[in-house]
């Protein structure tokens, strides 16, 4: 039994070295490993074989890490879209409002007033669309 605990500790170390995070999901994987070892032993295997078969069943640490990494990458990508979109929504009106104020003071429309309004509007619309898209797709 002590031998098995040492083996499980060594397996945890390997998982950690491959980048599997602790306590989640490593603890969950360890519970799975223990369940499988128990089942294999009940089926008549000795401790060593039960452990080896169960470890193989869990899969290679690097492959597992790659799968978990996909989730992390997805989360980061979607968060970045939302942050950029919110910044655009703030930056767009920051261009439009001073231009409109300038127009009110001067009472004319010229290039210096129109271009910040056009560019600001494009940035705002793009920002709102990206924010809505980002939140909608956050669950996907």
């Amino acid at each position: 039994m002590r031998d098995l605990e040492e083996k499980i500790s060594a397996w945890r170390e390997q998982m950690l070295a491959a980048g599997i995070q602790s306590p989640v999901p490593l603890d969950e994987l360890e519970v799975h490993l223990r369940d499988e070892i128990e089942r294999q032993r009940e089926a008549g295997l000795d401790g060593q074989n039960a452990f080896e078969i169960s470890v193989r069943g869990i899969g290679r640490p690097q492959n597992l890490k790659n799968e978990f990494k996909k989730i992390e990458r997805n989360i980061m990508k979607k968060t970045a879209i939302i942050v950029l979109a919110i910044l655009a929504v703030l930056f767009g009106p920051g261009m439009i409002l001073p231009a409109l104020a300038k127009h009110r003071n001067m009472g004319v429309w010229n290039f210096d007033i129109v271009w910040p309004i056009v560019v600001g509007s494009i940035i705002t619309v793009a920002g709102i669309s990206a924010t809505v898209f980002g939140f909608k797709k956050r669950k996907a």
Partner: protein, 110 residues
Amino acid sequence: MIRKELVAASAEPLILSLLAKGESYGYAIIQEVKERSGGKMNWTDGMLYPVLHRMERRGLIRSRWGESETGRKRKYYSLKKDGKAAMEKHHEHWTLVHSVLSGLKKEHYA
């Protein structure tokens, strides 16, 4: 043995359908799929967990840590409302694929 692409594609609908019966945990989910498929659907056990975590992140399922009857710590998963809706969608799509295949098979042997 069923091809791994099909096993991967069917993971989500199978997990959702199993959880529709009540909460469960990773090991039990794998065992039930193995039993129900007569051992023909073999997941690499560890690969189930990224799938479960992704589904939880998408709001389809929720999890909680609890204890088994033997006192072992376990992470239990259960279905959320969005998960039930996703499961119904999956059933609809897989039923359609099945009916198209069955129709073609009947014609082939007619």
